[in-house]
Amino acid sequence: MGLLDFLKRGLEKTKNAFFKNVVSLLKEKSIDKETLERLEELLIQADVGVATTEYILQKLKERDGDPFENLKEILLEILNLDTSLKIPDEPPFVILVVGVNGTGKTTSCGKLGKFFIDQGKSVVLTAADTFRAAAIEQLKIWGERIGATVIAHGEGADPGAVAFDAVSHAVAKGKDVVIIDTAGRLHTKKNLIEELRKIHRVVKKRVVDAPHETLLVIDATTGQNGLVQAKIFKEAVDVTGIVLTKLDGTAKGGITLAIAKELGIPIKFVGVGEGEDDLRPFDPRAFVEVLLSE
């Protein structure tokens, strides 16, 4: 199955619920006040947020020509950021996975691992979530499932030490990819953010330019709080990309538009199902094409 088909499948509901409306709306008539109002409602209900919605509508008003093409273009402009992975010349490629509770960090780590293993890479999963009960077990099960090494200490262990061990292990054994699962933290808790910074620092001691990617996991059902999450995590550990999970429900994930626009953070992966293979690289062009195609 091609990437387009794959995205199409996952986004079917999103499209039906939201963008199909947009399409029929825009194709029907030229932009008048009523249309703009309905468009505002649709964008807000997709969790795009007040500010970004106003921005999009403003842009739409400024442009002549086919409103449908214009909307597509505007969304594309917002989403068109560099989505490539910063893979270093020398392995290991170190990925730090962060996010608030319950967005699917551990699961995303497993799926990310699968993604690299399928490319013939060797993967080390790192259980640096030592806080949530049984998070370590959860990651170990993923390790077995996909055939990755899992580095873990006990519950309540120092996450920095676990991360350091994992990276050292990868360097010593010549492993290709290190994926570090961290504790879900409500970003308002300063200590937890500090802990994250420490992991970031400690990893650098072993591999100078690591972590090469710091991926923030955001759940497609997330509301406006997602923007705050992204902002604070970006300040704390310099987030390089978003993993957008749970896009297979009826939620629209529109907050990522606001994140892309406000913070310039690209979406790098999307999760559209519960299977091991359901995490794929994000392609903004394909994304918008699919969103707006009928």
Partner: protein
């Protein structure tokens, strides 16, 4: 909780406060601001529409009450409308059977497993004897998580990795029947409301359990889709209510304002901390006050009553009044305060100063360390602490002599206060 909404609304009210009277123009402006802040807070678009229509109608139709200023009137209207939408009073659990089955359902990652443990802990405090059932056999290690949480709070967890969820529930019902346990909390796997197969599983579990309560666990960070999800679950399972989790982040919590209105089912609890006692009954009227920056003293008093050692508090209050309060007592009070959680106390106080909580928590730790480094004699008679003793205490507690001085000075001030109280010039608001 609700900080940013509160902040935005208070700006709206301040703007109105400058106006002499309510006019259509300034109400329109205020209502627009309220609308935007609610949307920013993830309140569902349709609910916001209903809400602002209600406010607008009343604000423009209302007879101008002379005793109120425009902002007071407007606040009252907003508060009434908030309560109309959220419901008025707390709706408690209805546990009729014995044992009474409670079923928790929800999306992945909403916090069901943790909430199950919190609910068990809460019910035990209420004098119940609960048991937990691990029926999430899909997420790797979910069972282990519940077992661990169960052992942390000392509640038995019924589990069997070799059974299907439906079988586990059937087995649990049999086992609990005559066991003396009076509540049975079932943790189910997270699932999408559009996943037909998984929803059928819930139908079957519900049939076996015949639950007194089916609660949907909802993440406070959820956006506009929350109401669709809640509606689908409700139509399928006929929910009895909601538990909204993760209210301690700066989640907007708009979902709280939306789901009751859309489904007609009440929010029964909110999760307010990662710790296992972070589950509170939801009181719409109090939350409305909190959103409007009026504080929530009632919840605070209840929390104090629930969590603190009443006897100890009474003893200390008496000592306080007799001006016999020593540094030893001071330390005990600090420990009690820590139990409550400084953040939650400050949040519930009306007009509480915006202080840096983490700084204050550090400060508390420091004070504790200093007192810990004193001899019992010094704690009873701080007057004997001379320069050399100060140096020793500072060293022992890892602080500086200045820190020790500061603490002693605070203590002296408190003592003066006590003496004045003894003379009847003050009444104590709280024991601390």
């Amino acid at each position: 909780m609700f900080e940013s909404l509160q902040e935005k609304l208070s700006r709206v009210f301040r703007n109105l406060a400058g106006k002499g009277r309510i006019t259509e123009k300034n109400v329109q402006d205020a209502v627009r601001e309220v609308k935007l802040s609610l949307l920013e807070a993830d309140v569902n678009y349709k609910v916001v529409k209903e809400f602002v229509d209600g406010v607008l109608q009343r604000a423009l139709g209302e007879e101008v009450l002379k005793s109120f200023t425009p902002d007071q009137q407007f606040i009252k209207i907003v508060r009434d409308e908030l309560i109309r939408i959220m419901g008025e009073r707390n709706v408690p659990l209805k546990l009729v059977h014995r044992p009474s089955p409670i079923m928790l359902v929800g999306l992945q990652g909403s916090g069901k497993t943790t909430t199950c443990a919190k609910l068990a802990k809460y019910l035990r405090k209420e004098g119940r004897n609960p048991v937990l059932v691990a029926a999430d056999l899909y997420r790797p290690a979910a069972v282990e998580q519940l077992v661990k949480l169960g052992s942390q709070i000392g509640v038995e967890v019924i589990h069997d990795n070799n059974k299907t969820p439906v079988e586990v529930v059937r087995y649990a019902v049999e086992r609990v029947k005559d066991s003396g346990k009076d509540v049975m909390i079932v943790d189910t796997a997270g699932r999408l409301h559009v996943d037909e197969e998984m929803m059928e599983e819930l139908d079957r579990i519900k049939e076996i359990l015949n639950p007194d309560e089916i609660l949907l666990v909802v993440d406070a960070m959820m956006g506009q889709d929350a109401v669709n999800m809640a509606k689908t679950f409700d139509e399928r399972l006929n929910l009895t209510g909601f538990i909204v989790t993760k209210m301690d982040g700066d989640a907007r919590g708009g979902v709280i304002l939306s789901i009751k209105y859309v489904t007609g089912k009440p929010v029964k609890f909110i999760g307010t901390s990662e710790k296992l006692d972070g589950l509170e009954p939801f009181h719409p009227d109090r939350i409305a006050s909190r959103i409007l920056g009026m504080g929530d003293v009632l919840s605070l008093i209840e929390k104090v009553e629930r969590e603190l050692d009443q006897e100890k508090m009474k003893r200390q209050a008496e000592k306080f009044l007799k001006a016999e309060f020593t540094l030893e007592d001071f330390k005990e009070q600090l420990q009690e305060l820590k139990k409550l959680g400084l953040t939650s106390v400050l949040e519930m106080l009306p007009g509480a100063p915006k202080i840096d909580v983490e700084m204050s928590e550090k400060e508390l730790k420091k004070i504790e360390a200093i007192i810990n480094s004193m001899t019992p004699e010094e704690r009873r008679n701080p007057e004997i602490i001379d320069a050399s003793r100060k140096r020793r205490i500072a060293k022992g507690s890892g602080t500086t002599v200045q820190d020790v001085n500061k603490l002693l000075k605070t203590y002296e001030e408190m003592k003066t206060l006590m003496k004045r109280m003894k003379k009847g010039k003050f009444r104590i608001p709280f024991a601390f």
